[in-house]
């Protein structure tokens, strides 16, 4: 029923479009529209009924529907049926249906062929990339194992993890140097940092950063305080940029700073 309804609507719409386009006016009689509706209904019903059937069955049903629809239309609009026109309509439907089927099959075959070739190429490329990555990982892993073994690092191989960022207290050359410097302070007492106590935060409004933590904070007998930062130096011997900025921020906040280099930067 749905197929018949849709077919009727579509054929009436097409007839109306043709009616308007031939002379710019809608001047066909009601009989023409009624005939179009019946023809569309018969053709639509046949198309819906043959969904999924073989090509021969589909073409035969289509031809019969077209012929019947055409005959009905002729009868409604003219009161008589011309057999030649009925046969012509049925034959046209067979030819159009067959051609459509052949075209569809051809398109499917070409598409499948293209997809198969593309899939094959993509598979080859993926296998090649996988091999390259796998070889690279194996190579890197071997290199890491070699370096770790030569440096006597524990947890070599798959469990080796490289941790970035600040080192825990008591580990790493920077922290060791801070502890060493803290022990060398003679003109006052270390009251924060120095690896024995947490560093204090000095608020530095207007600085590159809004607060800074000197590596060591020292209090002198008169109650005055100063800070010590330990850091890398450039080739020139001056503190590297981030260390210089930290010192500037702290001095701009009124804390006298000292700098102890521990390692030359690049």
């Amino acid at each position: 029923m749905a197929g018949a309804g849709i077919g009727a609507l579509v054929n009436v719409a097409l007839t109306a479009a043709g009616d308007f386009l031939d002379d710019g006016e809608m001047n066909m009689g009601w009989e023409a529209y009624a005939g179009a509706a019946v023809e569309g209904a018969v053709t639509g019903a046949a198309a819906a009924a043959t969904g999924g059937a073989s090509l021969v069955v589909t073409l035969a049903a289509g031809a019969a529907a077209s012929g019947a629809g055409n005959a009905a239309r002729q009868y409604i609009t003219t009161g008589k049926v011309d057999a030649k026109k009925v046969v012509y309509a049925a034959a046209t439907d067979v030819v159009a249906g067959g051609a459509g089927h052949l075209a569809s099959v051809a398109v499917k075959k070409v598409t499948n062929s293209v997809i198969k070739v593309a899939a094959s190429k993509a598979d080859d490329a993926a296998k090649s990339a996988k091999n390259t990555i796998s070889n690279g990982v194996k190579d890197s892993s071997n290199k890491i194992k070699t370096i770790a073994a030569s440096s006597n690092i524990k947890g070599t191989g798959e469990t080796l993890k490289v941790k970035t960022g600040p080192k825990p207290a008591g580990t790493g050359p920077h922290n060791n140097k801070i502890e060493e410097v803290a022990k060398l302070v003679k003109d006052g007492k270390v009251i924060a940092g120095g690896q024995k106590l947490p560093e204090v935060s000095i608020k530095t409004p207007g600085g590159v950063k809004n607060s800074r933590r000197p590596d060591i904070l020292v209090e002198k007998p008169d109650g005055t305080k100063y800070g010590i930062n330990v850091g890398k130096t450039a080739k020139s011997g001056a503190p590297i940029k981030r260390e210089a900025q930290a010192i500037n921020d702290l001095e701009d906040a009124g804390l006298k700073m000292h700098y102890v280099p521990y390692k030359k930067g690049k």
Binding site: P168, A169, G170, A182, K183, K189, V190, I191, A192, G194, K196, L197, P198, E199, V200, S201, I202, K203, T204, P205, G206, N210, S211, L217, E219, P221, K225, G227, L250, D252, A253, G254, L255
Partner: protein
């Protein structure tokens, strides 16, 4: 190594009272540290004795769960021997200026860490937060929402006491509101 550091402003009597309360609640030992004129370590027999301590002479305390070794001859040596303390530096209130105080811990001992976290949590629950810091040299002001202070410190600030940091020449405005 986990580190915790809370910087705050409080009337010294408030901080002393808080230390005493924490020590009583968690059965802690209190050690008084004097840095000048010479290094002295004094383990209190009774936590209540802390109220008799003169902040003018010393303002440093270390709290421990276990009885600490007090035979060290320098502050760094003492911290080497007894590394897991809750260190309290009471900011001095002199010359109409209130100095910043510190609560700091640095320990890997899970038993200590658990207690210190509770203490710090309790401390933050009884303090206010959010203050402006002004650099008097260039007039720059920045709001620090995590800076903490007690009601007593706020009252001192409202009464005209200058609120100063642990080091440097900046000063604090103990208010979370907008300032001009």
């Amino acid at each position: 190594m986990p580190k915790n550091n809370v910087q705050f402003h409080a009337n010294p009597t408030e901080t002393i009272s808080l230390i005493k309360d924490f020590a009583k609640e968690y059965n802690l030992h209190i050690v008084i540290i004097e840095l000048y004129p010479s290094f002295i370590v004094n383990l209190l027999n009774d936590v209540g004795d802390i109220e008799n301590v003169s902040i003018c002479l010393t303002n440093r305390f270390c709290l421990y769960i276990n009885k600490p070794d007090t035979t060290a001859n320098s502050y760094l040596d003492f911290l080497d021997r007894n590394p897991d303390c809750l260190s309290v530096t009471v900011g001095k209130f002199t010359d109409n200026q209130l100095e910043e105080s510190l609560l700091a811990t640095q320990t890997e001992d899970s038993e200590y860490l658990k207690i210190w976290k509770k203490v710090l949590k309790k401390f933050t629950s009884v303090t206010l937060s959010g203050a402006w810091v002004v650099n008097p040299n260039n007039g720059t002001k920045v709001f620090y929402k995590q800076h903490r202070y007690t009601e007593g410190a706020k009252k001192l600030f409202d009464d005209g006491v200058k609120i100063i940091p642990v080091a440097g020449w900046n000063y604090y405005i103990l208010s979370s509101g907008l300032i001009v």
